[in-house]
């Protein structure tokens, strides 16, 4: 929980150094929460927000929503649906890839083929 809040605060403060629109008050207004609540989230005094708010926060801060959700201890609904359809397969796959380097994991993703042109 603390990790999530610290990360959000670091990102927001970094943006605020260049743009005052990234104050707690203004960011909170843009993601439809109270400034006091966002402040508590950043300090780790309350649990991370809902999935919808975390996704809005990620968009606001220019961060990857899946990464922010993972820091919040959550998995996005669409990923949950994918796993629920083939839970055994995806559980095995994720465990098998646990120690693989990023490059090896990315190879599993379908690449756009470049042809002859």
């Amino acid at each position: 929980m603390t990790h999530f809040g610290e990360y959000v605060r670091t990102c927001r403060e970094r943006l605020r150094a260049a743009d005052p629109r990234f104050s707690v008050r203004q960011v909170a207004a843009r993601i439809d929460v109270e400034p006091a609540y966002l402040s508590k989230v950043e300090r780790g005094e309350v649990a991370p927000p809902s999935e919808a708010t975390t996704v809005k926060l990620a968009a606001e801060l220019g961060e990857d929503p899946d990464m922010l959700l993972a820091l919040a201890g959550k998995v996005s609904s669409d990923l949950q649906e994918i796993i629920k359809k083939r839970p055994r397969l995806f559980a095995d796959l994720i465990r098998a890839l646990k120690a693989a380097p990023d490059k090896a994991v990315l190879r599993l993703v379908r690449e756009v083929r470049d042809g002859n042109w």
Partner: protein, 358 residues
């Protein structure tokens, strides 16, 4: 490597640096009037659907399959712009890339024929993240001519005007990441600046597809120069030496006539956007972007000499652009450099549809 995720091309270079990630998507937009006036930036109306071309191999011409890449639909006389993004970084902070863009294998910045390598003099690429968007052919310093889709073979495309042949169509991309050591140096400089006192750090219902082969040449679309728009293409202030020329990813984006999209992909193409006049009448915003003190490139003489779709149509005795009436009184929102990339889209897009021509 390039992956296709949610109608967006993701370019990743994990062998260069973990941060080396950028995205390119194709935004639907208004076609600005092709009347000689220079218009501000039109909004983004959502992205065009992008699909792996290989998924439709039995239903597309063999020459399309041969070039690989992705495929998207466009209506005749529809406009689009390229939206550049990057993963997990603000507009000013992202990993830099040099990106070459061509249509019909004619470079959109210089008007020269396609070449995979980068050229500095004249610069034939855009630099990310400094360049947030590209809306058309660079015809003069601070001005472009909007990308407008026209059927290949009718003579309107930049490719046909410059080469006399309509062979390729589509859009071509090649992306080069910055060298990892140069990026690490930038990060070191940013960290040092951040540690300085006084806060000096400044650093975004499905339809069944036909099983019949779908191959008429008229389904191949290319991009032609449309109306004039204010947009700067920024100079590369890193220099050619900054780019990792050993690592590049390229992609051919085939543009299929929207009339063929249902038969090819089994899904309806997006509806036509509203006309520029309807949009302006509704009081919805247009945009201007100021890149701060970034230096803009001069236009390319070859591209400046191209005839716009309306002018060429007039010479042919044709009216290729419906609803080309001039627009006045645009409400312009100024966007500038910010810590996150400014958003260029119509507000309440989903809740306030405008009447659109069919």
């Amino acid at each position: 490597m390039i992956t296709l995720e949610g109608d967006k091309l993701h370019f990743r270079f994990p062998e260069v640096h973990a941060d080396a990630t950028c995205t390119i998507e194709f935004q639907r937009t208004l076609r600005i009037p092709d009347d000689g006036k220079a218009y501000p930036l039109p909004p983004g109306l959502g992205s065009f659907p992008l699909r792996h071309l290989d998924d439709f191999a039995p239903r597309v011409p063999a020459r399309w399959s041969e070039r690989g890449g992705v495929i998207m639909p466009m209506h005749q006389a529809e406009a689009m712009w390229l939206n550049f993004g990057h993963g997990g970084w603000g507009a000013e902070d992202g990993y830099p890339f040099a990106v070459k863009i061509a249509a019909g294998k004619i470079n959109a910045v210089t008007g020269e024929a396609w070449a995979n390598h980068l050229n500095r003099d004249p610069q034939d690429y855009v630099v990310l993240p400094k360049q947030p968007w590209l809306d058309g052919y660079c015809v003069a310093k601070g001005f472009i001519r909007q990308f407008v889709a026209m059927p290949l073979g009718e003579g309107y495309s930049a490719e046909e005007q410059l080469t006399g042949a309509g062979e390729h169509g589509g859009v071509q991309l090649v992306v080069y990441p910055m060298k990892a050591e140069r990026w690490r140096e930038i990060l070191r400089q940013r960290e040092a600046a951040r540690r300085r006192p006084l806060g000096m750090f400044s650093g975004a219902p499905r339809y069944s597809a036909s099983t019949e082969p779908m191959a008429p040449a008229a389904m191949d679309m290319s991009l032609a120069p449309g109306g004039r728009m204010k947009q700067e293409i920024y100079d590369d202030d890193y220099g050619l030496d900054a780019w990792d020329l050993r690592h590049a990813s390229r992609c051919f984006v085939t543009i299929a006539n929207s009339l063929a999209w249902l038969a090819i992909a089994g899904e309806r193409p997006p509806t036509l956007p509203p006309s520029a006049a309807d949009y302006a009448k509704a009081g919805l915003p247009w945009f201007d972007y100021y890149g701060g003190d970034a230096k803009a490139l001069d236009g390319a003489a070859k591209l400046a000499a191209l005839k716009s779709v309306a002018k060429l149509g007039q010479e042919k005795g044709a009216s290729p652009l419906p609803e080309n009436e001039p627009v006045t009184g645009e409400r312009v929102i100024e966007l500038g450099k910010r810590a996150t990339k400014p958003v260029r889209e119509m507000p309440a897009l989903a809740t306030k549809p405008l009447s659109s021509p069919s």
